[in-house]
């Protein structure tokens, strides 16, 4: 290991004399000028924006909304003053303009006179956007202009958020009212549904009642019809009875006249002579009496008329009940009531007629009952007369008495039959009216039942419809939001600012200085190596003259500068960490990495100096500028023109910046390893080139001895 000892001898030169020592110290501290001094001045400019004087003009006149005073401008001013983004100076518009022009203020923010009015208009008929006015002057400072855009986009967003929150809050309150009213409507629809249900049940009952009534009236109608038919037969029979009885009476009259005449005339011969005629007449009478008897049997029986009377009375009663229930007890009598009333009247009439008929048939004071017996007696008398006609003459006297008795009896029968016939006629007429009434009643009840049927159908639809209405209103009420105050606050907060920006920087650099340290550290180390090779010879002349091995010569020229560079890096890092407060995510890694950077930079600078002599220093400076512009230390290299992008991957500082960023702020160490590999390759390559140069420079040229240029 001879090279380190040679390097130590090289360094020892600087221990001799005050000036070399001072030079060495200056060399060690030189990177501080480039790294620490610059970073110090820009360590945290964004944290000190509150030292930047800016003008704030609040011309807002305020506005009145719903009786409340709105001064949006004042609240913005308060917010800005609290936020300490800039040093706000409240001034007038003219002063602000002048101050911005002459550089007193870096920018001015103006809240216009109608700002509150415009904010308030968001809830009115013609909404307008409220506009804040920012003026900057790039002649004062360009950066402030771009910073202010960021700051004011925040201010604008906050003001917008506040304005829209109150707007949304009002909307939600309206929603709550709407919700309440819809709820009430839904409850009303529920009650309506209940009432319609009751009505529907009533309509059902009505229909059932009408069904029964119609059934009764049907029966009544057929009963009355039968009654009418019976009455017709009765009339006919009683007519024929009356005729017969009349004829009987006339016969008996003739008989009595003759008997009386015969009896009155003493001409018994006459009786004798006419005994056959008498017998003939008696036979006729007997025949007529038999016929009459037969007719009498045709009269309706008392049981039939009684049944008829009962049936019609029951029909009238049922109808009467229905009428009472539907018309009299109902609050609002249906339209068919008058008809029903007429039908009821007719039913009652027919019931009355039926009862009269019944009463008539039931014996009519026993006369009718005795009638057949009398007829039988008449016939048997006539037959006796017929039989006894031959002996009539002898029995004339008795016969005259009998005949007179018969005559008077026959007359009384004829009278009774006549009265019966009259009664039957009246009964028939009455029953005819009753039958028509019962038919009308039945038709009316049929219509009434159809109506009740339709009424029930309508009620079912009504009930369905009302339940749907109630359901729909309930659903609607559920869907209309009804928020309490807390919920409203939460929702208006989200709606006023629906898109949050979750900006989370991984491996965040706490300030500008930390962010740019990875750029300035390699810069200062490069400059350090560059100046170091102004003091140290890149290749030892005595070594070249002695023909020492080229590798050893190269290393002997490289190692002292690496040693100086490590000390430079240590001094720089110490000042950055303890002086400026730079925080290293990976301290040990950073130190090791900077040693490698120093070694690599020293090798490159050494080769350029060794190979190109004085011109090499200019090349070193050029290479520095190319690296600074293409390393992407400030803006991303992609924002630079293509030339720098093309250069970027071929220069070591690009990798140094990348690696240092990951060491200082933390992150994926892959970039660091890549940078290490690149730097090691650059160092090895540069050393190999230097060794080759050292070998070449063992042979001098005339130009070496008499250089045309010296720096």
């Amino acid at each position: 290991m001879r090279s380190p000892r040679l390097a130590a001898l090289e360094l020892r030169k600087f221990g001799r004399g005050a000036l070399p020592r001072a030079a060495l110290v200056a060399l060690l501290l030189l990177p501080l000028l480039y790294g620490a001094l610059y970073l110090w001045s820009f360590w945290d400019p964004y944290g000190r924006l509150d030292k930047v004087p800016v003008a704030l003009v609040n011309a807002d006149r305020g506005a009145t909304v719903d009786g409340k005073r709105l001064t949006a401008g004042d609240s913005i001013v308060d917010g800005l003053r609290d936020s300490r983004t800039f040093r706000w100076r409240e001034t007038g518009a003219e002063e602000a303009r002048k101050g911005l022009e002459d550089g007193t203020y870096y920018l001015s923010l103006t809240i216009p006179a109608d700002f509150s009015r415009r904010i308030a208009s968001s809830a009115g008929d013609s909404p307008e956007t409220g506009a804040l006015q920012v003026r900057t002057n790039d002649a004062n400072n360009y950066i402030v202009g771009s910073i202010s855009r960021t700051v004011f986009s925040e201010v604008r967003a906050a003001a917008s958020r506040k304005a829209s929150r109150s707007f949304y809050d009002r909307i939600f309150v309206s929603f709550s009212t709407l919700h309440g009213k819809t709820q009430e409507a839904a409850e009303g629809a529920d009650k309506l549904g209940d009432g319609i249900g009751t009505a529907r049940k009533g309509a059902g009952d009505l229909k059932d009642g009408l069904d029964k009534a119609a059934e009764g009236s049907g029966r009544l109608r057929s009963g009355v019809g039968e009654l009418y038919g019976g009455a017709g037969k009765l009339d006919d029979a009683s007519g024929r009875l009356a005729d017969g009885a009349g004829k009987v009476a006339a016969g008996t009259r003739k008989l009595a006249d003759r008997v009386n005449g015969a009896a009155a005339s003493p001409d018994a011969r006459y009786v004798k002579e006419h005994a056959r005629e008498i017998g003939e007449d008696a036979r006729k009478v007997a025949a007529e009496a038999r016929t009459l008897r037969r007719h009498l049997d045709d009269l309706p029986s008392a049981a039939t008329t009684a049944k008829l009377a009962r049936g019609s009375a029951a029909g009238a009663e049922v109808l009467g009940d229905s009428y009472a229930e539907l018309c009299e007890r109902a609050a609002e009598p249906p339209a068919f009531c008058p008809k029903l009333r007429k039908a009821l009247f007719a039913a009652r009439q027919s019931a009355l007629g039926a009862r009269e008929l019944d009463t008539l048939v039931q014996n009519r004071n026993g006369e009718l009952d005795a009638f057949p017996a009398k007829l039988d007696a008449l016939r048997s008398g006539a037959e006796k007369l017929r039989d006894k006609a031959p002996t009539l003459a002898s029995e004339i006297d008795a016969a005259v008495r009998d005949v007179n008795a018969l005559d008077s009896g026959a007359h009384r029968v004829a009278d009774g039959a006549g009265k019966l016939h009259d009664g039957a006629g009246k009964l028939r007429d009455g029953l005819g009216t009753a039958s028509k009434g019962a038919a009308g009643l039945d038709d009316g009840l049929g219509k009434l039942r159809d109506g009740a049927d339709r009424l029930q159908g309508g009620m079912v639809k009504l009930s369905d419809g009302s339940s749907k209405l109630a359901g729909g209103l309930h659903d609607g009420a559920k869907r209309i939001p009804d928020y309490g105050k807390d919920e409203r606050d939460a929702r208006t907060g989200v709606m006023a600012d629906p898109v949050g920006l979750a900006s989370r920087a991984t491996h965040k650099a706490p300030n500008y200085g930390t962010g740019f340290a990875p750029y300035f550290i390699p810069l200062s180390l490069w400059v350090g190596a560059m100046v170091a090779y102004m003091l140290f010879p890149p290749l030892n002349r005595r070594a070249l003259a002695a023909g020492a091995p080229a590798w050893r010569t190269a290393l002997a020229g490289w190692l002292p500068v690496v040693a100086v560079g490590v000390l430079q890096a240590a001094a720089l890092l110490a000042v950055l960490c303890w002086g400026l407060g730079l925080h290293l995510a990976r301290a040990a890694g950073t130190i090791g990495f900077l040693c490698l950077v120093t070694a690599s930079f020293a090798a490159i600078v050494q080769w350029l100096n060794a190979r190109f002599g004085p011109a090499g220093r200019i090349l070193v400076l050029m290479l520095l500028m190319l690296q600074l512009t293409s390393a992407g230390g400030t803006y991303p290299v992609q924002t630079s023109p293509g030339f720098f992008n093309a250069l970027h991957p071929f220069l070591p500082m690009s990798y140094v910046v990348d690696g240092l960023r990951h060491l200082i702020t933390g992150g994926d160490p892959a970039a660091v390893w890549r940078a290490c590999a690149v730097l090691a390759a650059f160092a090895a390559g540069a050393l190999a080139l230097t060794a080759w140069t050292a070998r070449r420079r063992q042979v001098w040229t005339v130009r070496d001895l008499h250089p045309e240029l010296s720096l």
């Binding site: 001879r2 000892r5 040679l6 001898l9 020892r12 030169k13 600087f14 001799r16 004399g17 070399p20 002349r541 005595r542 070594a543 003259a545 002695a546 023909g547 020492a548 091995p549 050893r552 063992q698 042979v699 001098w700 040229t701 005339v702 130009r703 001895l705 008499h706 045309e708």
Partner: protein, 242 residues
């Protein structure tokens, strides 16, 4: 051993080196036996230094032929460099003023090739380097302990004669067969000049051939090579053409 190896014979004919501004020297003939003290004479700027560098394999000749220790130039320049050494040559090889005498010696030892002299050198004990330094100092008659600050005396504090001795000692450490010395008599009084020549003679006597540049060649030089300035060389060339 290298120390006892014979000096290198030097033979050159029509040697010339051209620089960017024409010939530095031209048409130089040298003929020296091993162990000779060769004086290179000529005015300053007549290409004397370039001739030394050329003959030690450290500058490529433009014209002519040369042979050093049997090695042809420029074909075997690297080999010639190994058997030759430069003592003081301005602008090429001078003691560093800020380093002490002891440090110079140490540095020179460190600069020696490790594996010169064949496989035997591999087994040479390390201490021998120091021994060689001692021997070299003895040859040039320089006793570091006798200096004002001993071995720590800085080179810049040395007088001209001591500086020459130191340069020669440093050159001898490599065990060369040819030593080139520039400006051997520069800024020396007549007495010191005589001492210098005596020193060079003794070095030559110890083995290596010595090439010494001087303004004026001493009488006892084994060979004298004269270089002429550029104009002379040009005149020469013109004469030759004529």
């Amino acid at each position: 051993m290298d120390r006892t190896s014979l000096g290198a014979a030097v033979a050159a004919r029509g040697l010339g080196v051209a620089g960017p501004r024409g010939w530095t020297f031209r048409a130089v003939d040298v003929a020296a036996a091993p162990g000779d003290l060769v004086a290179v004479e000529g005015p300053s700027g007549s290409g004397r230094t370039c001739l030394l560098l050329t003959l030690t394999g450290r500058m490529r000749p433009t014209a002519g032929t040369a042979e050093v220790g049997g090695l042809p130039l420029p074909r075997r320049m690297a080999a010639v460099r190994r058997i030759t050494a430069l003592a003081q040559i301005a602008g090429v090889c001078e003691p560093e003023g800020a380093l002490s005498v002891g440090e110079h010696l140490r540095e020179r030892v460190l600069l020696c090739r490790r594996f010169t002299g064949g496989p035997r050198a591999l087994f040479r004990p390390p201490a021998e380097a120091a021994e060689r330094a001692e021997a070299a100092l003895a040859t040039v008659g320089l006793d570091p302990d006798a200096l004002p600050a001993g071995p720590r005396t800085l080179a810049r504090d040395l007088g001209r004669p001591e500086s020459l001795r130191l340069s020669l000692a440093l050159a001898l450490i490599g065990g060369p067969r040819l030593i080139a010395v520039d400006d051997a008599d520069l800024k020396l009084g007549p007495a010191d000049r005589a001492d210098a020549w005596a020193l060079l003679r003794s070095v030559a006597a110890s083995g290596p051939t010595v090439l010494a540049v001087c303004g004026e060649a001493p009488e006892d030089a084994d060979a004298v090579v004269t270089t002429h300035g550029k104009e002379t060389a040009d005149a020469f060339a013109a004469a030759g053409r004529a």
